[in-house]
Amino acid sequence: MADQQNTGGVTMPSKPPPWNDPVVRSIVFQIVALILLAWFFWTIFQNTLTNMETRGISTGFAFLNREAGFGILMSLIEYDESHTYGRTFVVGLLNTILVSVLGIIIATILGFVMGVARLSDNWIVARLASIYVETLRNIPLLLQLFFWYTAVLQALPGPRSSLKLSENIYLNNRGLNIPKPIFQDGFEFVWIALLVAIAGIFVLLRWATKRLDETGHTFPVFWTSVGLFIGLPLLVFLIMGLPLNFEVARATRFSLSGGANLIPEFIALLIGLSTYTAAFIAEIVRAGILAVSHGQTEAARSLGLRHGQTLQLIVIPQAMRVIIPPLTSQYLNLTKNSSLAAAIAYPDLVSVFAGTTLNQAGQALEIIGMVMAVYLSLSLGISFLMNLYNKKMALVER
């Protein structure tokens, strides 16, 4: 009953007819899928070409060299209307990066504080942190942005009656006015001193570890590093004769002039993004710390390790393994969420390039394609790094 063939003395099971052969079926299926996909894209491609011709939209990236003709509220590099569309892309990108990086830093600090606070012995502290997390997580980010922008920042007084936060720092509805640093000759040495201090900290770390191994004595590395980081540049600064001036705002007839101004759109976006993401980070940190089994703490304390040592050597290293993957996910979310800037007119990449430039140049395909490519490469890049990190840090098991 078995279908057997003889192939040179060895009996092999016979091949089924092609329509039943799973290998053949799988290949056919995939080819059909590819053909369908190709046809789908081809149809879209054709339609697009026709439609663009009808509407007189050109293709290609030549538009990037055309003059933009519009101003941008905030730019980290030189920009005015006479610059190109290509430059608007760069300006928008830099603004996105600025608010994302700052947002990530603030959100991380705030998130870690809130996460640890939720685990506090003190009931009030724990409850307040919980309220923070549960409130901000369940309200849409866009609503929070509008709240900060409209209800808070626009409700501030005009420049003439600014709130004075401290000497030379003013808050009004045009933004936050801080003294603008003007670097003078000789300040380069301060930057160099800073770099030297950072290098010095690394050397210090190595030396202290070696000393711990050899003599068993610990060294207050943290405070020494802080001292070095601040002290050395400060020393050079004084030696060079204080080569730093500040331009501060002065009241004119109608407003304030001078100083560096951070526009309210930026502040609202930064506050909204940071506080929102911090709520999620808090939960991640809390889960990470709770994930370290209590037995670890018990074993460490039984061995005589003090509370701080237990945290530093046993709990936090293990917690970080659990924390870091979802943490990077949140960083990515924050970066993507920065695109909500379009709703409150902060000139980020989407708002400037996929907004104003798109409206004027009309080349939707190229523009949106470029924007999506930027975010996509960012996501994929960070995912890739994260996978590498995960592989490296995985607990070695059988």
Binding site: I124, L128, T135, Q144, F147, L365, L376
Partner: protein
Amino acid sequence: MTDSNWQPAPSLPPPAATVGWIGWVRANLISSFSNSVLTVVLGVAIIYYGWQILDWALFSADFAGVDQKDCESSGACWVFIRSRLDFFIYGFYPNAEIWRINVMFGLLAVLIIPHFFEGFKHKKLFGWLLITAFPVVSGILLLGGILGLEPVETDKWGGLALTLVLAFVGIVAALPLGILLALGRRSDMPIIRGICVCFIELWRGVPLISVLFMASVMLPLFLPEGVNFNKLLRALIGITMFQSAYMAEVVRGGLQAIPKGQYEAAAALGLGYWKSMRLIILPQALKLVIPGIVNTFIGLFKDTTLVLIIGLFEVLQTMNTSITDPAWSNVAVEGYVFAGAVFWVFCYAMSKYSQALERKLHTGHKR
């Protein structure tokens, strides 16, 4: 050594200073010096600011009235909310037809509320109705045009009704697509797997805004001459594509959690790929990831606010236009607090439900 007359000792109550509310206070509020200082400082701050907030929101607030003139006090102007409430909920829907939206809300409540009760027998049936019959019935109700109902164009839809439509259709459409993508990503066929991975990573890697822009601006270009989708449909397509990628990852997690033995048993019984998926694997996998699906829904519910950027009047936008309406001034805080509270109630309830489900499923799922 041992006393043969030994009797078990009685259980005594604990020392008074360690239990009851005294014990609780000692342990949680004043267990150390720094703790005590913290308690005092925070306690004072809470009482002080809490009182001010309560005063603004309740004691000095204006509840009664019709327009801005009735908001004279320094407290919250809830009159604003009351007078604009219809707009927040129904958008631009014609007044005469609002009963249809109310019927939809009613149906939703009937289908959802029983899930919160432990002993309810027909959860599964109601769940199915929720994702199959309910969207169809709601669509008919809202669109009209048949069964003697007045047609109402989609650009008149707005407010909370629109938010719910967006969120619901988004999830209902994204679920089957997500399941297919998850299955595809786990497929042995490299081309299929490749297509699915690309699709998923593409939509997960870009912000929703860019997807909405794409749907809004590029979709008309992709379609043949003459075919045009209205704004709502474009937004829905964008949202569905976007959500299906996230849904795919959630379902994939469920598929991975099913022990290999299940796949093997189904195969051993002679069930082909699709049959074993439909009858054995997917029912288990989906049940496992219901909390994940609810979480995705919560995210989508919050994300529906983004459609205001392409000109749809969901609930946040109705709030925005009301706030900037010249008939009202200085009501931004009240408006956003109210809108925030509405969202918070929905999302918090859903997240609590999802957590409760997760606990129940975890204990129920014995390996």
